[in-house]
Structure formats: C-alpha cells, structure tokens
Symmetry: C2
Subunit: 319 residues, 2 copies
C-alpha cells in the first residue's frame, strides 16, 4: 500500500450525433479533453478530490468520473482495492454542457485511469460499458461520445445490446470546426424535443445519409461527406432552441464547409472541412456570424483524434 | 434509315432492400438478367414485338421496357427517331414477381439498348431517371433495383430528389444465395403492410445497421456484414406474408450464412456467404427447408455482378 502511485488519463472530447447519426455516430476531436488523476487513499471507498469545476458535484455517485470509476471497480473486482480507497482529481479541459462530450470524456478518463491503477486490464468494450453506466445517470444511455473518446477516431455504434462499435476510416484531410456560443444546453432538455415517432420516409432517408456518411469516409469522398451531413430528425427540432445556429451554419457553408450541424445536443455547432486553411476560414466565418448577432462564441479547429483516451502520467508507485 | 440495326442490352437482376436498406440498398447478382433488343421500325412510335412472357402486357405504356424506352426517347429528343419507330423484344431471364428485380432489369436493359440505338449517350443518372419513370408505374418510385442493375455492384441510394447514388466497395469473397419459393408477391401488396410511422429507437437502430453494412463492405469485415443484416422495419411485417421464410432463414444461418433476409419484397429470400463452398451449402439448406414444408423452390448462388447493364449485341446497321 502506498499513497504515491498516481495515474492520470486524458480523454478527448468531440462531436456526438454527427450529422444524421443521432445517438449512433461520434467523432473524437484532437486538442481539448478532460484529464482524471486516480490515486490510492487510505480511507476506503471513492472520493472526488477535485470535481474539475465549481458547479460539478463532489459526490462520486453524482459525478460521471466517480460513477465510471465505481463501475470499473465493480467490473475489475472490489478485491483489487485491498481495503484501500481511490481519490479522483478531475481537470476539465472541455466546457460544461457545451455539446462537446465533456461528461463522457470525464467518465472515460476516469475509467482508463482507474483501470490502470487497479492493474485490471479491462478491455475497451468493458470500459465503454462502465462509462455507459456513468453517462446514463447524467445524459442518457448513449455511446456516441464515450466510444470515440475511448477509442479515438470516428465511431459508429451499431448496437447497444449487445454493445457493438465500429471504428470508421478517417480521411487524412478531414478537419472539424467546433464553435460554442455562450449558451448552455441541458442534454435532457434537448432530448425532450425529439419526436417519438418518425415517418417511414424520413427514417429511410436518415438511414441513407448514415450509409452515405460511412461510405464517404471509406472512399475519402469529401463532397459526399458534405451531402451526407443532412439530419432530418434532430436538427429540425433542436435548431429553434439554439439562437444563432442557423446563421452560423449558413456562414460555415458559405465559407466552404463540407457540412455543418449541431454537435451533440448543442449549443456547439460543428462544421467539417477539407484541409486546415478552409477550416480556419470556416471558423472565422462562424464566429463572425455569432458576433453579428451580438453573441460571443469560442471556436477551435481540430483534426480527428485518432488515438483516443490514454494514460499520460503513471508515477510508478506501488500498485 | 434501315431495318437492320438491332441493339441488345443485358441487365442483371439482384437484391433490392438489402437487409436494413429498405428502398436504399441494392445489389446486382451475376448470372440471371433480362435482355432487351431494340430495332428500328418503319411505323412511328414504340412497339413491343415480344413482351418476354405471356402474362406481360404488349402495350408499351404498360410494360417497364416500353416505359423506360419512351422516357429515354423523351430525354434524348424525339428528333433522333427521324420519323421512325422502335420495336422492343424482351427476353426475361428473371422470374416475374419474384423479388429479384425483374421489372427493373427489363427497364434498364431497354433504356441501355434504346440509348445506344439512338446514339444518345445519356449518362447513368439520366438512364436511372428514365427507368424510375418506368418503375414508378409498376412498382413504386424506388431505385434500389434499378441503380445496381445499371451500374453493377452494391449501390446505396443516398437521395432520390436530387438523385444521388453511391457505389459501395464489394469484398472479393462475397457470395449471394437467392432462393425463390413457388409463390408470387405483388410489390404493391408487400408495400401496403409497411408501417407509416416508426419509433425513433427503431429508426435509429435501422440507420445504424445501414451504416454498419456500408462499413463492413468497405472494411471487408464479413462478420460485421452478417450482424448488419438486421431489418426491424420491413422484415417483421413482411415475413408473415411469406410462408417458409422463417424456416429458410434459420436454415441459412445454421448452414453458415453471414445473414439472410427478404430480397426486394419477396418471395425470394437471400443469404450472404463468405466463399462459394459455404454459399453452396447455404443454398442446399434453404432449398431443403422449403422442401421440408412441401414447398418447391429454385436456388442460385452468385457473385456480385460488378459490370452492370451492357450492350451485348449491336448489329452495326445504320443508326
């Protein structure tokens, strides 16, 4: 037993609900993410040493990092604790309620850090399951932020029961633009406006867009990728909740974006672009569109994070 | 002007509504198809010289080959007829009302033959549009049989308005098994049982399967391809109209098929298999399943037809 061992993992944020892929397509964006440090404590049980933000709860059973850690301990076997406890320190690089997969990234980073600290070697699907249990309490049972944050890349959630995820090919010149206006969305609120029933024509059209998006990634067909960013289920009902979205999207397309839609349940708006210079231009145009309405916004341009969550610190003390 | 010139085109049949891809995914199967010969006639207008089957109409405006030919003439410009007419002779290699894309293949073969006879050089999208006009009258406005029959391969219909089709990668070891029991289905009948509204959960699940199917083709992931053949919209409501379907599908999977579902709107059942020997075994098992119920059936094993429709005879007389 030792108080010295500390493992820190980083998990990227990104885009959930990518275009037509409501609940089923997610993308990890390089750059911003959450980090969670896990260390042994003498006191048994889980403790949140730092929740990462003043508004986030200190109770492990109300924080996605704590919930994911608990689910990993359960899967790994509580014996591995050897009577000790684990303390978690969360560093939030991602905005709260921003639609960039922040709660998922905290869960994933915690799961990866605790998995390593315990020497548990749970596989990727087990870690995703653990994070799902955590996210369920906060944002609903969806893997489209968790899976790409853990695995990296662009991920299709084929099935939740049983869990089956597919890493999709990522074309080299693909850039994403993420623009977050000053507004907060509660995922539950954004979810409540989704229709319970969908016309067959719309359902089949949406399925065709998902197929086209996957084909576009595989064929590195950027124009097709843009045409496939066409969401007839979530975007039409969520757009009215997002002041400035329509203008930002229009500006993105006018500046050369392949496509643009809502990231997660918003308020972040994403755009896809071919090459970094177009992406920068798109980013500027989107920010200007918000500014033109008197809204402040934060933009970033990123490539796809292909690595996913990783341990970034392991002090190497006793396990 | 001459009565000698004769152009014959062949168009393959195949699978419409591939698995989860109701109305949006089609596959051309090598082997059987329809052929249409087009020749100049002195009498102006279109004439069906041979409808291809005693039950098919002789009126060009009621036969998909005649309708497609008329649509090609309209697009090419009626001037190209130079006052002459065109006679069409249809040879049906595909079963009537079988669910193997027979009416689409007749339309496609006629369109390709007439396009060549007229020297019109309409492009693929124009020819698909012409065939859509023909199919609309018979089977509804769907391109999932027409597009693969014309282009070959496995085709995703991303959009009908405007028409946008995507040829998907085809893994080398993919074989299809088509088993047609002695039963006829009217496409309109099979369509009437489809639900008008679909729950959001089912719609998103179906979209995920379409995405997974496309990913499986691109990654040559045969196991994933099998898991993606999971249709929760059409198969559940159409299966009860198809005596023996459940048994044939079960037999296919037990014999090693990757997946199995209804071809088009039936009664043909298809299965996918990796390699020809598994495909042969699956074919035998499916036929035996029908036989065990006292139903006769015809089976064939095929690779994907990658070439699509082609001119097979051009006598080279005057244009």
């Amino acid at each position: 037993m030792s108080g010295e061992r500390r493992v820190t993992a980083f998990a990227p944020g990104g885009i959930g609900n990518v275009g037509p892929g409501l609940d089923i397509l997610g993308l990890a964006a390089a750059g911003l993410g959450d980090s969670v440090g896990a260390e042994w404590t003498r006191a048994p049980g889980l403790m949140i040493l730092d929740p990462g933000h003043p508004e986030l709860p200190r109770e492990p059973e109300r924080h996605t990092a704590g919930l994911a850690a608990a689910a990993v301990i359960e899967r790994a076997g509580i014996d591995r604790l050897g009577g000790r406890g684990i303390g978690l320190g969360v560093h939030k690089g991602l905005p709260l309620c921003g639609g960039q997969g922040g709660s998922a990234a905290s869960a994933v980073a915690a799961a990866v850090a605790v998995n390593r600290l315990l020497g548990a070697e749970l596989d990727a699907l087990s870690l995703i399951e653990a994070c799902l249990a955590a996210e369920e309490a906060v944002a609903g049972r969806h893997a489209d932020n968790i899976a790409p944050s853990l695995l990296g890349g662009i991920v299709l959630i084929r099935s939740m029961e049983p869990l089956d995820v597919v890493q999709l090919p990522v074309p080299d010149e693909l850039y994403v633009v993420l623009v977050r206006p000053e507004q907060r969305m509660r995922t539950a609120e954004a979810r409540s406006v989704l229709p319970g029933k969908i016309s067959r024509a719309t359902a089949l059209r949406q399925a065709a867009q998902v197929g086209a998006l996957v084909a576009a990634l595989a064929l590195a067909d950027y124009a097709l990728l843009g045409r496939a960013i066409d969401d007839r289920i979530a975007e039409p009902v969520r757009a009215p909740l997002l002041p400035g979205f329509a203008e930002a999207k229009r500006a993105a397309l006018a500046a050369g974006a392949l496509g643009s839609s809502i990231s997660g349940s918003g308020p972040t708006v994403f755009a896809l672009a071919r090459g970094s210079s177009v992406a920068e231009r798109v980013s500027t145009a989107m920010t200007a569109a918000y500014a033109g309405r008197g809204q402040r916004s934060e933009a970033r341009v990123a490539q796809v994070d292909r690595a996913g969550a990783r341990v970034v610190e392991d002090t190497g003390g006793a396990q």
